[in-house]
Symmetry: C2
Subunit: 335 residues, 2 copies
């Protein structure tokens, strides 16, 4: 029989993993009835905490806080699924908070986390919160950054990071449009207070320079939302120098771009070509659109983040060197 | 000047609302430095807790747990946005947990909540958890059900509920297809362990009976996911008696249905008509599809749920009569 996990004990006893931990470590008040149920489950399943488990701090909440800018974005949910598939086996549950790309809201959420209601924090920062992130890290809360870097490179050196090579990805995507002969390209970017917004725009500019396109692309700075993609297309169609192609720098904005191009009666790609940083789930509803997209690997990123998290939660001293994992992205084309 | 809220005090002092509450109520250890910051903010903003606020229980966490089957579904996020817009003003933050339509996972999450780490729970149940829900309610945790009812009607009578008239909505949607002359209708349903799965299927059957269609519809029972919509279409296209129309009973499955019909090279609606319980954000990418859909009002439902929540959190005794709010849905057509 495979070794029982704390999660199986919790299920058998119909309590949470935190309660099992409290009973076994005798750290907090638990009623006799619950104690009996837990010990019955421990004995029935022949559960023996592993050496690693015994080295766990004893006031675990078994909750991991995930703070992301947009919890309904399938990209962030892909990362979360990967994390959960790793940490769930060890009895940890994820709780999610959405900062809505709002640095003030994110700051409040980080304060909440700091009050030790969770065992670790996963953060995709909206930007502008280096002091709050540093404070959280200084409080010895394990914290891992996903998708987005802090504002200052020094802060970045101290923390675990699992992200993508945004500059290279955006360059590759832009080159596809340039190879097809496009010269007037509209760029739908996210907020430049986020590292993904800054790096992806850099990547677009870099590719345009290689092609000796010295004129600045027409840039619309949105907030990574579907509505921004819609507004960007309206902006481009009204421009004096109307682009022949649009590059949209996240999946949500790309859906908006597609919706508004179709609504305007234009055809993709003959009237307007489209390239998207990230897959658009509904893209295949369009026939022969020739959309270029960067295939991302959020689930793999989540698995890696989960593994780093478990190491951080368990091995508190000596601190490991910060992990720095950068994932590549591949350009694909629809139809 | 408008009266200051506890949230503004928390922001000014750069602490959480829970910390402000602890300082003002003297209920827990807080460092002198933090106390000074909080009191400075209280004085600067001239904050005076209202009568209602003073009647608050003093060990608030200022967190509200939201447990839903699929946190990346825009429908549940619409409800959550409404709740947040009401309770956020009072300093409460939402934390989200995803049960993934898995009753066992939901049960574990409810146990976590019961350990009093949150001030109230919002639940869209995956079904099969009446005992766990009852236990949570018995522990005097304010709990409000959204979108889905408990399994047994008695349990439903005890708890606040904000949901839709699923039976009537599904009947209306089905009638549209019947009025257009369809006789062979494929139904993509969610799991019947959830009340929405049961009620919507009842609604379809009811409408078919009215039209004296006594044969059973072809039903594919999925799990409310996009992948289920894809599988359902494959199932229908292989059936001996291939349907001429498909009714899909949630927005996620509807996207899958559309993707797979397009992938199969069929045209909507001439080869296959489609009706969807809930809006499909990407639906307008299809031209002249004539898709019928039920327009839902998740944001309004969230506002209502938030108002009920605040009353429950504040007025503990005498307990108010359970609220029972049922929202109607309206049939619309694309293009």
């Amino acid at each position: 029989m495979a070794r029982a996990t704390i999660k199986q004990v919790a299920e058998e006893a119909e309590v949470s993993t935190a309660t099992v931990s409290r009973v076994l470590n005798n750290t907090d008040f638990v009623s006799d009835e619950i104690k009996e149920r837990v010990m019955a489950a421990v004995n029935k399943l022949n559960y023996r905490p592993s050496a690693i488990a015994r080295s766990l701090k004893q006031d675990r909440t078994y909750m991991i806080g995930v703070v992301v800018p947009d919890i309904s974005n399938p990209y962030f949910m892909g990362i979360s699924k990967g994390i959960e598939d790793v940490v769930g086996k060890e009895g940890f549950q994820l709780i999610f908070c959405s900062s809505d790309e709002n640095p003030d809201k994110e700051k409040r959420l980080l304060k909440l986390m700091q009050e030790k209601r969770v065992d670790a924090v996963v953060l995709a920062t909206s930007g502008g919160n280096d002091p709050a992130i540093k404070q959280l890290a200084d409080s010895r809360m394990p914290i891992i950054l996903v998708d987005r870097k802090p504002d200052s490179p020094e802060a970045g050196l101290m923390l675990d990071l699992v992200a993508e090579d945004n500059t290279e990805g955006a360059s590759r995507l832009t080159r596809k449009l340039l190879e097809d002969g496009h010269k007037a390209i509209g760029v739908v970017n996210g907020p430049t207070r986020s590292s993904t917004g800054r790096e992806r725009l850099d990547g677009v500019r870099k590719a345009m320079k290689e092609y000796a396109l010295n004129e600045e692309p027409i840039v619309y700075n949105g907030d990574f939302s579907t509505e921004d993609g819609i507004q960007a297309v309206r902006h481009f169609l009204d421009a004096d120098h109307r682009p022949t192609a649009i590059i949209s720098l996240n999946n949500r904005m790309s859906l908006g771009v597609l919706l508004e191009i179709v609504r305007s009666g234009l055809r993709i790609p003959s009237d307007m070509a489209v390239a998207s940083f990230g897959e658009v789930e509904a893209g295949p509803l369009l026939k022969e659109s020739g959309i270029y997209y960067l295939e991302q690997r959020p689930y793999d990123m989540g698995i890696k983040a989960g593994e780093i998290l478990l190491r951080r939660i368990r091995e508190e001293a000596p601190l490991l060197k910060p992990a720095f994992e950068i994932y590549g992205t591949e350009v694909k084309q629809l139809n």
